[in-house]
């Protein structure tokens, strides 16, 4: 089906279009210059039209998400929606069913999702869930935070071998990029310990997190992967951890012209000052200043919003510490020689000082980072808040008045610990478009595949929101902004109308993007005696059974072959 979208108020930062009234032509799932014949005409009526939303860091598929589901039946009882108009019945609030995730994201105009962490050994489950997330393209970042082979190679200074190991594993598990969660923490956690920061080498492997991060970044660039290394720093959630965050950011060289060299995720959880919970305070300012000075860095907010949610991460020791704080149900998991994970449900409260400061830090990061391309909008769903809170965050970023109003409701002592009330900046529609789609497309290396913009040749992922930018003052009418971003008028994915108002119209539109770097025969790890020995000696699974079957597990496979410099 071809479409003509008339009278659209287009905001497309990649093509430098800012609120221009224009017509869009869609033919064969792509945007074209020429007007197609026999096309269906849609009148956008001057409403805000953006490229389809991209979430660069969310947890929606995988074993830990599922573990969250079955340890929280109370969460499954919330958000129950009966089936109607061909839509399936869904349930769950912070960790909904896969269809629940897909429908709610589609109604918010999101067409591409990045699962933030997949344990390689549990790739099959993640792919199975992505198969059943019908309306969004999936990218899966693969965890390399405690990979024995990689640690040995980097300790020996053999970066090319490290790159070859990454290439082999990404190809085997059909992953898109490299994720480091609490680098080397998982290895120490199997001994009941955690890493302090980045400088101290860990026993047995004699490699420090700093060396490891630098090695993996170098290997990542050798493989020419579309996305940079995706880093979740050490010491998440500890007061005073901002020094460690800045130290880690300082390790990153500028190696890539097209995009950042390292992506730091949910930096809100890593920008804490103070020496304990009593003098806990915001250090968003130094972190944001550091990012402002270095174009090779991109961060995402990891905004916390008040309410009930579930935290889940591959950072096992951090989740155990959270359990000791909350004394509620918890789970922790060790994934053989690869990584760890943990899940616990939490409630962020306005009357809690620490939670109030966390809420402020996320907003400060977004407002103090000068270049919106460097700070993307996420909640680290569901760790900071479920993704359905994105419209509220957009409202907060666009309106000082709304921020002040919300600030009056939080813990009164927050004022002396944060800088948020002093920030006057209000983001524009262009900046929001960067933070929710264009910036994410650039950071993930998806611009080349036609995502994140509306120029000719781009994939027709389009979200039309019931907001008229020329008739609305976001700083005053924030309620309309929140309502508008919560539900699109139309969401289109690759030229297929997937939702109209509150009704889902399509099924099985998802594709999985994954990378297969072209490595020379010398670095083909399938015949590497050491890797084969590792599997035979230590793994519970044979090397032949490790790889994920492309035909069986992936709905529509989008293989990206990259040129390497090995």
């Amino acid at each position: 089906m071809d479409y003509i979208i008339k009278n659209a108020c287009v905001v497309d930062p990649v093509n430098k279009i800012s609120g221009e009234k224009m017509d869009l032509f869609i033919s064969n799932g792509r945007i074209t210059d020429e007007e197609p014949k026999n096309a269906e005409v849609i009148d956008a009526g001057g409403c805000l039209t953006l490229p389809g939303g991209i979430d660069s860091h969310t947890h929606i598929c995988g074993t830990k998400v599922n573990f969250g589901r079955y340890m929280s039946p109370e969460d499954m009882r919330a958000g129950r929606t009966p089936h109607r108009n061909g839509m399936r019945a869904v349930s769950g609030y912070s960790i909904p069913t896969t269809y629940g995730n897909s429908y709610r994201y589609a109604l918010m105009g999101y067409t591409t999702l990045t699962e933030g962490a997949m344990a390689p050994l549990e790739a099959r489950h993640t792919h199975e869930e992505f198969r059943h997330t019908p309306l969004q393209d999936g990218l899966i970042l693969t965890l390399f935070d405690g990979d024995w082979g990689l640690m040995r190679a980097i300790a020996a200074g053999d970066i090319k071998r490290a790159a070859a190991l990454i290439a082999w594993r990404l190809d085997a598990v059909k992953g898109y990029g490299v994720k480091l969660t609490n680098p080397l923490g998982a290895e120490l956690w199997s001994w009941g310990k955690n890493v302090d920061c980045i400088r101290k080498p860990i026993p047995d492997f004699d490699v420090s997190p700093a060396e490891y991060i630098k090695g993996v970044i170098e290997a990542n660039e050798m493989l020419g992967l579309p996305h940079s290394v995706h880093i979740h720093c050490n010491n998440l959630g500890k007061p005073g951890n901002y020094t460690c965050t800045i130290g880690t950011m300082g390790l990153v060289p500028d190696l890539n012209k097209k995009r950042q060299t390292a992506y730091f995720t949910h930096v809100q959880f890593h920008s804490y000052g103070g020496s304990g919970w009593n003098d806990f305070c915001s250090k968003a300012e130094p972190v944001a200043n550091f990012v402002n000075m270095r174009p090779q860095l991109t961060i995402d907010m990891g905004q916390v919003m008040f309410g009930r949610t579930t935290t889940m991460t591959a950072d096992g020791p951090m989740e155990f510490n959270l359990f000791r704080l909350h004394q509620d149900k918890w789970s922790n998991h060790d994934v053989e020689m690869e990584t760890a994970s943990g899940v616990i449900p939490v409630i962020y409260r306005r009357k809690n000082l620490v939670n109030s400061i966390m809420w402020s830090i996320g907003l400060e990061l977004a407002l103090l980072t000068k270049n919106p391309w460097q700070c993307l909008l996420t909640t680290d769903n569901p760790n900071g808040a479920p993704f359905v809170k994105y419209p509220e965050i957009i409202g907060l970023l666009m309106s000082k008045e709304y921020r002040d109003k919300e600030f009056a409701l939080i813990h009164p002592k927050t004022k002396s610990r944060v800088v948020l009330p002093a920030i006057e900046r209000e983001l524009t529609f262009d900046e929001i478009a960067v933070m929710t789609r264009a910036g994410q497309a650039r950071a993930l290396g998806l611009l080349d595949f036609g995502k994140g913009h509306l120029g000719p040749g781009a994939e027709a992922d389009i979200a039309i929101y019931p907001i008229k930018p020329d008739k609305l003052d976001p700083s005053k009418q924030y309620a309309e902004i929140i309502r508008g971003f919560a539900q699109t008028k139309y969401t289109m994915k690759l030229g297929v109308m997937i939702s109209k108002d509150d009704v889902i119209l399509a099924d099985k539109q998802n594709r999985t993007f994954w990378c297969s770097p072209k490595v020379p025969a010398k670095y083909d790890m399938t015949k590497d005696p050491e890797l084969i020995h590792t599997f035979e000696r230590y793994y519970t699974i044979r090397m032949e059974n490790y790889a994920v079957d492309e035909d069986y597990y992936l709905n529509k496979s989008m293989k990206i072959e990259t040129e390497t410099t090995l």
Binding site: M71, S72, P73, E74, D75, M76, R77, Q327, D328
Partner: protein, 256 residues
């Protein structure tokens, strides 16, 4: 005073569950042309029960509902009940008295599972036995029963008074495994025997007059008391939790 008598029709398949959350004084005092689910079919209440209405309605407080017949498959009777009275002249199905916060339910037969689940107030009297999860919270919830009173004259199944947060659960017979586990407040009294009670207890008061099998090692003995002529050993726990303030008193026990 309005009295509504519901007699289950004989032609209703006894193997199909009936979702009868409408059998509640607040709704039936206003109208009786309401529907219930029988299996997956929505039916009128009058097609499932013979309904007889006596007297004029003067609000839910002056309404009495009487259920006659074997109602073991009728679920959710008295859900969100606020006032009035329900008398069940036989057995009743699962989830009787869910979330109720006022009024009285009297069951002359036995009750199914989840009797008085997460109730907030009011009173439930069960002359027979009750099933599993009597007076407990629902799965995953942190707070179970927060107020009110449940009296079971027979035995109860497993997980009686799980996550108890307030109110009083009184069992005259025996209880199954894990009675009062995860208790955070309120009072639990079991006059008979039970198995492995009060694991993961935070707060509240539990008393077992009879014998406890598989008593957990995480309770600290603090003394002996006599209550209602029963010599009881008093414990504090569950010490596996930080600052546990629960009290457990048992007649006799045998450690796991």
């Amino acid at each position: 005073m309005r009295r509504i008598t519901l007699i289950l029709r004989e032609e209703v398949d006894p193997y199909l569950p009936i979702e009868a959350e409408v059998i509640c004084p607040a709704i039936l005092s206003k109208r009786i042309d309401v529907s219930v689910y029988v299996g997956n079919e929505r039916k009128q209440l009058t097609d499932v029960f013979h309904v007889r209405v006596d007297g004029e309605a003067a609000g839910p407080a002056a309404t009495e509902i009487i259920l006659v017949g074997d109602c073991h498959q009728v679920k959710r009777v008295g859900e969100y009940m606020t006032d009035g009275r329900i008398i069940i002249e036989g057995d009743i199905g699962m989830h009787c008295g869910d979330f109720m916060n006022g009024g009285t339910i009297e069951i002359l037969g036995s009750a199914g599972d989840w009797l008085g689940r997460e109730m907030l107030g009011g009173k439930i009297l069960c002359h027979g036995d009750a099933g599993n999860y009597c007076g407990s919270g629902y799965r995953g919830g942190r707070k179970g029963v927060r107020g009110g009173e449940i009296l079971v004259e027979g035995n109860v199944g497993d997980f009686c008074a799980e996550c108890l947060f307030g109110g009083f659960v009184h069992v005259k017979g025996n209880a199954g495994i894990h009675a009062g586990c995860n208790m955070k407040g309120g009072k639990l009294l079991i006059e008979g025997d039970c198995l492995m009670p009060c694991g993961d207890m935070f707060d509240g008061e539990a008393t077992v007059f009879g014998h406890v099998t598989d008593f957990l090692p995480t309770f600290k003995e603090i003394g002996k008391v006599t209550e209602d002529g029963h010599a009881l050993v008093s414990f504090r726990g569950d010490v596996a939790n930080r600052n546990a303030k629960g009290t457990l008193r048992v007649g006799s026990f045998e450690r796991i």
